[in-house]
């Protein structure tokens, strides 16, 4: 996938020894070959053979200066070693020299042309490859779902394109000062020496696309989106381009594509955060509204009833006193429920809920719940059937009893007075299941499980409550590693099924 032609050193650079080095053995080889052929075909034919070699060497040698050097060296060696008189630069006939020089010039022109053609072919190939890579990048970026993905694609594409390791720095604009964050998708490690320089660059906010070099001889360039700088790409080595403007422009297109994708993902994330914040605020408002309503209503009854009991005129009727006292008691019960629910919910939410597990019998737990319901004045008949082989459960009896109480209380609140509630308990593959079914109007058919959502209330006209009861139940059951499901019974009414782990005696 990498494009080798991308980062060729520019022509203007001086010829280095490294480039010349491979010339020596090839020259020696060619000369040896010439020496071998000379007795067979004569020195003129060898000269022509050398000329052909120089012409086609344009295919291999990329730099014109190097071609010139090769030709000159070969010519001199030929003249010295093979052209009679051997081991001297003496020439018998002036015409010979003219012919040789003319031939060399022709060979070099041919070689130069071939070299140019080859270079054009390479440029075309590079351009084609770049276009392809560009297309691939555009397609990949269009399919990304997150900032992480964009960063990963950007890093891998760029390091392939430039054939170097690179580092991606993203600009965080949330803070007062722009902050550069090294992205873990980078193949190049963070380098403290460069960091300061990059930060200065980010603060200056220069949004012209230019290649810049760091003090530690690396290159960096900006990622410029629609709203300015979004990040910086740092390359492991200094970049040099053969045809500067052309390739820089291509690189700029790559960069802006990546920058826009990054910007898009950042905006997307920000809008998601806003959505979450809005949700939180909505939840908070709901909490505040329902808590204040649920606390105030019993307070109205308590304040009013107590002040009425202090009023002599009101108390002249002997039947009123007990009624008012009953009102105060009912209101106090309701207040206690609200406070209990809030405390339970905060226990579930904070993750501080640690069930004190022991082996306990569902029958006992249900009996306690039913007794409590009776005290609170709930009178719906409860029909209980327990399968004979039901094992004990491994759970905190207090929490399970509270959960059952909440479910049955919920069933009471949403059904006609006196309607039957059925509880079945049985066991199945290491779990004890309990189903609680009422004969009420049932649950929302679209998604029965939404009753477990916080502050969900079946109908606003039904008796009070914070809409927390069932979410607490879910929290309690799940803290035991159990599950709870809500559904409508095929014959009508809501049905809750709790599954709790059975007690293992071997433990």
């Amino acid at each position: 996938m990498s494009i080798p032609g991308w980062t060729n050193p520019p022509e203007t650079q001086r010829l280095s020894w490294i480039e010349v080095q491979p010339l020596v053995p090839s020259l020696i080889a060619v000369l040896l070959m010439g020496a071998f052929l000379e007795p067979l075909i004569g020195h003129l034919a060898v000269g022509i053979f050398f000329l052909i070699l120089i012409s086609i060497s344009g295919l291999i040698i990329k730099r014109f200066s190097l071609l010139l050097l090769t030709a000159a060296l070969l010519g001199l060696c030929y003249h010295y070693l093979l052209f009679p008189p051997i081991f001297s630069f003496y020439v018998y006939k002036a015409e010979d020299l003219k012919t040789v020089v003319a031939l060399y010039v022709a060979a070099m022109i041919v070689g130069g042309l071939i070299q140019k053609l080859r270079r054009q072919a390479t440029t075309l190939k590079v351009r084609e490859e770049t276009t392809r890579l560009h297309y691939v990048l555009a397609r990949q970026l269009a399919q990304t779902q997150s900032l992480e993905e964009v960063a990963h694609i950007a890093c891998s594409t760029l390091s392939r394109l430039l054939n170097q390791t690179i580092a991606l720095y993203l600009l965080k604009k949330d803070e007062r000062h722009p902050l550069l964050v090294w992205h873990p998708s980078s193949s190049l490690q963070e380098y403290d020496l460069d960091r300061e320089q990059l930060e200065v660059f980010a603060i200056q906010h220069d949004i012209s696309f230019q290649l810049r070099n760091t003090r530690s001889a690396r290159s960096f360039f900006p990622l410029i989106g629609r709203e300015g700088l979004v990040g910086i790409i740092l390359v492991s080595r200094k970049l040099m381009f053969e045809e500067r403007q052309d390739k820089l422009r291509m690189l700029e297109t790559f960069m802006s594509q990546i920058a826009v994708a990054i910007e898009r993902e950042i905006l997307h994330e920000r809008s998601k955060q806003l959505e979450v914040m809005e949700q939180t605020q909505k939840l908070y408002r709901t909490l505040l509204n329902s808590v204040s309503h649920e606390l105030k209503t019993p307070l109205v009854a308590i304040t009013g009833s107590a002040s009425a009991m202090l009023d002599a005129d009101t108390m002249r009727d002997p039947t009123v006193g007990p009624l008012l006292a009953q009102e105060i008691l009912t209101a106090s019960h309701r207040l206690r429920h609200v406070v209990d629910n809030l405390l339970d919910m905060s226990r579930v939410d904070s993750g501080m809920l640690r069930p004190k597990r022991k082996n306990c019998d569902m029958r006992d737990i249900i009996a306690i719940s039913m007794h409590k319901l009776q005290i609170e004045g709930y009178q719906n008949p409860i029909e209980l059937t327990v399968a004979p082989d039901t094992p004990e459960i491994d759970a905190d009896p207090v929490l399970i009893e509270q959960a059952l109480f909440n479910i049955i209380q919920n069933a009471h609140n949403y059904t006609q007075p006196g309607s039957k509630i059925e509880i079945h308990v049985w066991s199945e593959s290491g779990q004890v299941l309990s189903s609680i079914r009422d004969r009420g109007p049932g649950l929302p058919t679209t998604d029965p499980n939404q009753v477990f959502a916080k502050f969900f209330r079946g109908s606003p006209q039904n008796p009070g409550g914070l809409g927390l009861g069932l979410s607490i139940v879910q929290g309690f059951i799940e803290a035991h590693g159990g599950t709870i499901a809500a559904d409508n019974h095929p014959d009508g009414g809501a049905m809750f099924t709790i599954s709790l782990p059975a007690w293992r005696y071997s433990v």
Binding site: T297, L299, V320, L324
Partner: protein, 235 residues
């Protein structure tokens, strides 16, 4: 205690507990209570029983309390007392402007409720037959435009007198800024609450024993003013 005929009150509140408490507590005071749990039910019961007064909770689940009030006011002329939560001045003002006679904030003492009920039921029945009003030390004679406090005559400007007249005519009842401004300065002046503040200040200077701790002209924060007729809420 009330030897006169018992009065029927319609209580429209979604909270069963509050309805029940009102029923229990008001029974001995000569009120028969008809309950309605929703706004719709309230409207139906109002047509069926024609109550002497209505207690309406503004926070109803099915319909906005204000809506119910407006529907009631299309045909029902009797007094309406609005129940509201503490921090909802806007709906209180809107309710009073839409024809509620008074309001009471939850939670309330029985005494307050009785006082408010007595007031709205009485002012509604009596009308404005008697032009002389005696409120504590204050005496206002609408026929002669004479105002005295502890038998000493008080000189009032025209605007001050008009303002006092409005307060006295609705003595004991809360008046919203809008209602006072409309009656004294005309319907175009409803924006000018600052006028009202200034003139209320003048009246307090002339009528109150301690203008910084007014006992006669009471500010109802965020709602309006009330000319207090009883020094204690529980007589």
């Amino acid at each position: 205690m009330n030897q006169a005929k018992r009065q029927t009150l319609l209580v429209i509140d979604d909270e069963h507990q509050i309805r029940r408490f009102i029923k229990v507590a008001l029974g001995p005071h000569g009120y028969d209570i008809v309950e309605a749990a929703t706004g719709q039910e309230g409207l139906e019961k109002a047509t069926q029983v024609s109550p002497d007064g209505i207690i309406l909770d503004l926070g109803l689940p099915d319909r906005d309390g204000l809506d119910i009030l407006k529907s009631l006011r299309e045909w029902y002329a009797g007094p309406v007392l609005v129940l509201s939560v503490r921090d909802d001045e806007e709906s209180i003002v809107a309710a009073l402007d839409s024809g509620a006679h008074d309001y009471i904030r939850k939670p309330f003492m029985l005494g307050e409720l009785l006082a408010r009920l007595r007031l709205i039921l009485r002012t509604h029945q009596v009308g404005q037959a008697n032009p002389v009003y005696q409120i504590g030390d204050l005496m206002v004679d609408l026929a002669t435009r004479k105002v005295t406090i502890s038998q000493k005559e008080v000189k009032l400007t025209v605007t001050e007198y008009e303002l006092l007249k409005v307060l006295v005519k609705h003595k004991g009842k809360v008046l919203t800024h809008n209602q006072i401004l409309t009656e004294v300065w005309g319907p175009k002046s409803v924006e000018h609450i600052q006028y009202l503040r200034v003139y209320i200040g003048h009246l307090r200077q002339k009528l109150e024993t301690d203008p910084n701790k007014p006992k006669l002209i009471i500010t109802e924060p965020g709602v309006g003013y009330r000319l207090q007729i009883e020094t204690s809420a529980n007589p």
